[in-house]
Amino acid sequence: MPKSFLPLVLPLLGGTALAGCQWLIYVYAPTEASMGLIQKIFYLHLPLAWWALVSFFLVFLGSVVYLFRRSPGADRLCAAAAETGVLLSGLALVTGMLWARKSWGVWWTWDPRLTTTLVMWFIYAGYLILRGLNMPPQRKSLVCAVLGVVAFLDVPLVFVSARIWRSIHPAVFGAQGGGLEPEMRLAAMACVIALGFFWAALIGLRKGQLDLRARMDTLWAGNGPSAAGRNRP
């Protein structure tokens, strides 16, 4: 498939798949006995959390590539992935809180996985603040790449701390089939895949915007404000 079709196909695919998932969530998958309708949030919460983690992994990969090749494209990919990751993890936290209120009776509980998701959100929000600073562009890209690597190294500690503390998260996809009915598992997996297309579209769109801005900055620097002023009628 030509590259130019992807920005059009991915959002269409993601949007259609997400719309199809609504049928799976509300018609195909049974309603959970104890929690009722609010359990449906899970089908959004899980994909958001997973794709947020994938976004942060993409920041890590892009940062490694930038450190070794100094490719501006990799830096812009990191920026797009970090913004998307912060957005998705923020939404995962909000949907998690709504679910926690119904499920555990509180808006927030210091469950290790929730806590560490919040910590990851803080880390990458700090990363975005660093990206917004007024620094020389190459220095900023370098500093962000180092932070992108260091930040992702915290992720294994997230999982370790989740195991040390007693988690109250349900086992979704465990070795024995997890705690979900087969229909619920299918719906959850379909939502993960659908949101994956949407995620790829978001990253592609944002990366495209950043590429365009970089191109305009280059053109502006080449012509210069004075040259642009001279060319005006």
Binding site: G126, A151, I164
Partner: protein, 224 residues
């Protein structure tokens, strides 16, 4: 590399302790934090051991930010960072030397924070001090490995204090949780899982010591 590391360590210790404010600003900030948290106690009330341990580590974390800002600001005067960059030695020696200096300075500060926490927050050392001593050294080592790496991040930045804090604190969370969990036991809190937390702190140290060695040379450059 070891000789260069020790030279940077000696230089930083001498410049920090014998000139200017030394540790005074960092110590004062940490003590103020302990004092402010003591205001939350009602008459005849004491903070729980876990809360007191958290206040101790919070003071240490703020103190660490000031220490590394100060250590990296030393070379900004007269642009002497270029001098360090020109030394024909591995650049990682600068990171290690500053981490060592930060480690000693942080331990010195904690020698003040620990009694202040016990006195102001009404605590007593009624638990086992052994695991607390181990976690203190491991947590400080991790904090200094990461602090020394990210201290270089803020070089030449006017907003370096706030920037370093915003970036560093969330990264340190697993380490601070481990330190709080084990130190709470030394203050008489519920015991259990000290070994696991020591394992987390040791893993953190290993990961970020390796990361510092690999990444420091990318960050510490002659760029303004």
């Amino acid at each position: 590399m070891l000789r260069m590391t020790l030279a940077v360590f000696r230089k930083d210790m001498t410049l920090t302790l014998l000139r200017g404010n030394g540790l005074a600003q960092a110590l004062l900030l940490g003590l103020l934090l302990v004092f402010v948290f003591s205001l939350s106690q009602g008459i005849g009330e004491n903070l729980s051991p876990r809360n007191a341990a958290a206040v101790f580590w919070l003071s240490s974390a703020f103190c660490q930010v000031l220490i590394f800002n100060q250590l990296y600001a030393l070379e900004e005067v007269n642009n002497s960072r270029l001098g360090l960059l020109l030394v024909p030695q591995p650049l990682q020696a600068v990171w290690l030397g500053k981490a060592l200096a930060g480690f000693v300075l942080l331990l010195l500060a904690q020698c003040v924070f620990a009694p202040a926490t016990i006195v102001f927050l009404g605590q007593s050392l009624s638990g086992h001090p052994g695991p607390a001593a181990s976690i203190l050294l491991l947590t400080d080592a991790g904090m200094c490995a990461l602090g020394s790496l990210l201290g270089a991040l803020a070089q030449s930045q006017t907003a370096r204090e706030s920037l370093l804090g915003v970036v560093l604190f969330p990264l340190l969370t697993p380490l601070l949780l481990a330190g709080t969990g084990v130190c709470a036991q030394a203050l008489g809190g519920a015991s259990g899982e000290a070994d696991a937390w020591i394992g987390v702190a040791a893993a953190f140290d290993a990961i970020f010591l390796a990361a510092g060695l690999l990444l420091f040379s990318f960050l510490y450059t002659g760029d303004e």
